[in-house]
């Protein structure tokens, strides 16, 4: 059965050398995030992940969440683990200190979330969704709503959900039909059905706080008529105690490919007279609030990509070291562990290199998020926010697609054993398959990237990022040796590829959006691969500085340089081809009539 060892050394390296934890710790309000304290926090999180959550991952998958008579039972051990998790304060790690949170920066919570997902993705979704609800209420809720809900959510006494999707409204939020009727006392009655509601019902906590997108009577058509409501499972009395059962219930759960232990619920609102809800923020501003939550959620799903890649890698590596099969291709006739076979090594290096690149990219975006939130200089906040806005679809889209590829490779390394469920590799593949879909498919991310984030501003932010990449390229040129030569060569090609693709998008998006949009996902992959390669190049430079500064023979640093070089040779090498697809792939794609497909 699988075990999980938190990759603390690489996490620390990224936090300190690439994401600038020291700078983040100097931002107002983040003074507690001193590097040494953060190190201690990550160690504790790692113990919880490997000691409590990982042992429930496989059993949770096999047992699954069960539904009976409107109630959901989570697998054995989940309830106790959630209580421990809440008790240890993990839910409130990045929560507002005013409501009992620890107020740590996103950079720290990102690293911690990676461990929760890697050790037990199904479990991790409950706190992740709770965090989303917490952020929405903090940003948009009334003072009373905050006082009522936030302390309980942050303490893990209650949990939160996001109720967006309906059968006819998936990616298309304009099609939402759930309606909210004002009752004259400031409250509303909610009627409608929501689907795909993660942890919409469960037995982990006393109350569930549903955040629900709905349409008030007479609201405008489309997305401009959506409002956000808070609808608790149990009404909350003035003293904070639980009151009557609200008219919202789970009517079924989905039979899914993966994340079996995470209940995916069909929720019925108002079947018995109307679910009581309160408006959050202003009427018809629901979409805006949802996008605030969505950006955090999309980042969180991106982290799932690196997390699933990591646990798939650890399992595959352990098997490859243990499994003796065949002889060394260029050596003796004795049997060797398959880790010595070139193609197995290539697969493991593909996993290792892309995991490290994904982690570096995600954590640096998290740090930029912290800067955007707290930096005293408004211009710096704005610059950081523009970078975050640009990179969120890349983090969500590229990390989740890559996470899927890595779980596929994880099975492949196992050979026939990978297809046997008991091995555990197949579970990662199954669990990963949702991450390129929920919180906006890769296609949705890519359209957001080329449209709102690039074309609309004439590519200003992405060109600024390209300039930063070029600075890194110039630094590479100062280094000696074949590794840095290979990294510089490939990064240079990659930067050129991104630049050409950006020029094409900016020049043509306005007059031929359909053709340009065919290249949206190929561009997102290109942007992800080159951004990841940029971070790996920065990592190689940082590692070289450590070596030059006297790293006492720690093999971590030369390995980082070698891994960056592998990434350059095997991933950045695909960048020119992706740019070619972006700039030349549009015409043929839309040419066929639907009837002949």
């Amino acid at each position: 059965m699988s075990t999980y060892t938190p990759p603390l050394k690489d996490m620390q390296f990224v936090l300190r050398e690439l994401a600038g934890i020291e700078h983040v710790a100097q931002l107002p309000g983040y003074e507690d995030a001193a590097p040494d304290l953060v190190e201690a926090i990550l160690e504790e999180a790692g113990k919880f992940a490997s000691g409590v959550l990982a042992p429930l991952n496989w059993s949770g998958d096999q047992e699954g969440a069960r539904f009976h008579d409107k109630a959901v039972t989570t697998p054995a051990g989940f309830k106790e683990a959630f209580a421990q998790f809440a008790e240890a304060g993990w839910i409130g790690l990045s929560g507002d200190v005013e409501y009992g949170g620890q107020g740590l920066p996103k950079l720290v919570s990102a690293a911690v979330q990676e461990m929760w997902t890697a050790s037990n993705m199904s479990f991790s979704l409950c706190p992740l969704l709770t965090l989303g609800a917490t952020e929405a209420l903090l940003l948009c809720g009334s003072a009373q709503q905050k006082t009522t809900y936030l302390p309980k959510l942050i303490a893990g006494k209650w949990t939160g959900t996001m109720n967006i999707t309906e059968p006819q409204a998936g990616s298309d939020l304009a099609a939402i039909r759930t309606r909210a009727e004002p009752q004259g006392d400031g409250r509303y009655k909610i009627f409608g059905q929501k689907i795909f509601i993660t942890y919409g019902e469960h037995d982990l906590a006393d109350n569930i706080v549903h955040l629900v997108l709905a349409r008030t009577s007479g609201a405008p058509e489309g997305v401009k008529g959506l409002s956000l409501f808070v609808v608790p499972k149990f009404m909350v009395n003035a003293d904070g105690s639980l009151g009557a059962r609200n008219d919202v219930c789970c009517v079924s759960i989905e039979h899914k490919l993966g994340i079996h232990a995470s209940p995916t619920c069909v929720m019925a609102f108002g079947d018995d007279g109307g679910a009581v809800g309160e408006l959050v923020g202003k009427e018809n501003d629901g979409l805006k609030y949802m996008f605030i939550m969505m950006n955090a959620a999309r980042f969180g799903v991106g982290i799932e990509g690196v997390a699933l890649g990591e646990c798939a890698y650890q399992l595959a590596l352990a098997y490859a070291k243990d499994r003796v099969q065949g002889r060394d291709i260029a050596g003796s006739s004795d049997g060797v562990a398959i880790v010595h076979h070139p193609d197995v090594r290539r697969m493991l290096m593909l996993m290792k290199a892309q995991i490290e690149a994904m982690r570096a990219l995600a954590y640096t975006v998290a740090a930029a998020n912290d800067t955007a939130a707290r930096h005293p200089d408004a211009a710096e906040r704005k610059r950081s926010q523009a970078y975050v806005d640009l990179m969120i679809p890349v983090v969500k889209g590229w990390l989740t697609e890559t996470g899927n590829e890595l779980t596929h490779l994880g099975v492949q390394v196992h050979g026939g054993m990978g297809f046997v469920e008991e091995t555990g590799a197949a579970q990662y593949l199954r669990d990963a398959r949702i991450i390129t879909i929920y919180e906006g498919t890769t296609g949705i991310q890519a359209n957001d990237l080329i449209g709102r984030k690039i074309a609309r501003e004439g590519g200003a932010t992405v060109k600024a990022v390209i300039a930063l990449m070029q600075r890194t390229e110039a630094e590479l040129a100062q280094q000696a040796g074949p590794e840095f030569a290979a990294i510089k060569f490939a990064l240079g090609k990659g930067i050129t590829a991104v630049s050409e693709a950006v020029e094409y998008i900016v020049a043509n998006y306005g007059n031929d959006i359909r053709t340009v949009s065919v290249g949206a996902v190929p561009f997102l992959k290109l942007m992800g691969i080159v951004s990841g390669g940029w971070q790996m190049a920065r990592a190689a430079l940082a590692a070289q500085a450590k070596i030059s500064g006297g790293s006492h023979g720690d093999p971590f640093y030369p390995a980082k340089i070698t891994t960056a070089r592998f990434y350059a040779d095997h991933l950045l090498a695909t960048a020119p081809g992706l740019a070619q697809i972006v700039t030349h792939g549009g015409a043929g794609a839309m040419a066929l009539d639907v009837s002949i497909l």
Copy 2:
């Protein structure tokens, strides 16, 4: 629930225009394969696949094969379907006429197998394995073995298996330990355990004919000491009736990611005194016979790649036409079916284009196989056999990897519904995951390709294939219009990429096998993509000839040209990057010590 419509029009196009069914039908012994008769056969097979097998695919997955007390029960309907299948003569389609087969060429059986797999992969594995056993006995068995087993196997009264893998011997056949002790009467007693035995036990037929790789007492170490044995589940009396139960039984079946209806058995030989077996062919020649079977089996698994891609495509296309979500990106504000969204269209075109390329490549290799077997001219037989030998690892490796990518895309097109098992898209993904593994992983195929098939002969055959590709490129230059210009441009780049990679492999394989082998799988993908692009270019030329010759406005032909152009823009565009990985990716991959991975 999924349905399957046999893609008869494209199959016929490939058979007639690309694979040369007319020429195959002129080969001695294949006179029955006249194009019109073949068309009728494919129509009948299509009816059986869509009418009998497809309806059992989902229910078979959900019910799964069940094991109890050494017996395996297949899902409801499988037994009746197999009886109908056998009765209709489908098992013996390509079987020897002397033993009741219909003696049709591989080109026809390949197309028919595609339909069996696409409609019900789990079911299809029983006749596929039976065919493998039949071929082994036909090629290597004694006259008496042929008379005893072949008519029953071809008629579907009995079925066959291949018993190769053992717990310590997966890809590494040298590690096989199952032993065979001669009994002095020409028979042997077999002792050992085999795993991953497809349909090793079931309730579809009266007897099961196991072909078993084992080691006789005193045989040489390694693969040179392997012999092939036939071990029936029930002994066969002289009159052909069934005798005593042999000492071979199923002790468990695997709990797998996919192909749930296909029992994957652990088989125990000789737990009760020894399983009685007969030597097939000569002692210690087992590996040679196994490779004969293996080439056929590998081709058959390659066909599974295109088959699973096809059924995933059909399901995704139907959903994309039906699902209304969002508005046209450049059009009116009315909701549109998602098939009109550029990224959905891109995904569907990726599926369609690669399916057509895979089918064309596989069928042309099947035709070459028929030529190699039956052409009156020895030089032509040799040339064809060399082409087949070169392309078998490409067909197996590239089609199965691509098939996995397409089932992944099939889920993606469905969005959240794709993750729900009832939709059926996830089953294709699960079922497909084994095909890059069994009958030799992609890594094994790629090593075979660059080593035995290219480096060992200095690249002679692959260079001859490159010359054929260049002839097609020259023909493209004769055509007008942007489609042919795009196809010619991309194919030219692809050919250059293959040539450069081949030169590198041939020049360096001998002195640096480890470094070169890192590029084996990237080269296999490159070879597959360019070979597929070559076939799509041939298809476009054939379609243009049809149009020029008066195709009466049939939209199939212009669509074929557009699809070939899409393939060029989106797949061939990746060829230079793959060549770069092959020629430059070796150094960094093997550099790390295992302890730092």
